[in-house]
């Protein structure tokens, strides 16, 4: 194994561990922080796989803004913060092996696909991918339609959020 692969496996282990902690830990703020750690792990995995641009985007968008929103949301719902409810489902001993079984079967199915086991060395790809990305965004043969539609989607999400939040504020004040 190359050092890079060892780093990758280490990061993957941390990511998985913190993902499990997100759903099993009691305090909501701690869960949110483990979510941040998970997202950070994903960013490092992008980096070790050779996609620096998306690693930084992952940090900027997911950790820098979406996780901040989640932390704000936790602060907003302070009242149910330390509720003394069990964080594990009652039937977890049944569903945990089931999830493992499903995961194993997915791996089994995927492993029959020839490209699954081939390792591609991406660490040597040049850094030109931003230029390509920028070009593809405004290229009629590329992603210009998804790019423009994305703006409409964002606007719809935004208008919805403002509408709901302002209604609540109006009702309270």
């Amino acid at each position: 194994m190359t050092p890079l692969q060892i780093v990758f496996l280490l990061v993957a282990a941390i990511t998985l561990f913190s993902a499990v902690m997100v759903v099993s830990i009691r305090g909501m703020m701690h869960a949110a922080l483990f979510l941040v750690l998970t997202l950070m792990g994903v960013a490092f995995m992008f980096a070790t796989l050779g996609s620096r641009f998306f690693a930084i985007i992952q940090i900027l968008v997911y950790i820098g803004s979406i996780a901040i929103l989640i932390i704000f949301a936790v602060m907003l719902t302070r009242n149910i913060m330390d509720a003394e409810v069990a964080s594990l489902n009652r039937g977890w001993w049944f569903f945990a092996p089931l999830a493992l079984l499903i995961f194993a079967s997915i791996v089994l199915v995927l492993s029959s696909w020839s490209a699954f086991a081939t390792l591609r060395d991406l660490s040597s790809t040049s850094g030109e991918n931003i230029l390509e990305f920028g070009k593809a965004l405004t290229d009629p043969n590329g992603f210009v339609i998804p790019f423009e539609v994305a703006s409409v989607l964002l606007v719809a999400a935004m208008v919805g959020a403002v509408y709901i939040a302002m209604e609540r504020r109006g009702g309270r004040g």
Partner: protein, 118 residues
Amino acid sequence: MLEKYLPLAIILAFAVFIGFFVVILGTIFGPRRPTERKSAPYESGMIPYGPGTRRMNVSYYLVAVLFILFDIEIVFVLPWAVIFRELGVPGLVLMGIFLVVLEVAFVYAWKKGALEWE
């Protein structure tokens, strides 16, 4: 190509080390004689009342939502900004449409009063 990023990992490791080192330094050398009064929340010498944290104003939440939207906008504008000369007028027009559509949400939030603070 990836080794260009190795220095960043090295300095990150040093920064983490410095942070914890300073905290540990204070723990080793600082005295530790907690009393009930000392570990009460500081409220300018008044007797603390009520819960330490309370529900925050929804305006903060709205700001965070708006921030996500425009953060994503920046992420889309940056790759365009690197090669906009090459893309020329069509690129400019397409980016203009993208920005104008997003600004609809901004104007809506503004008119709805989401940017007002009382």
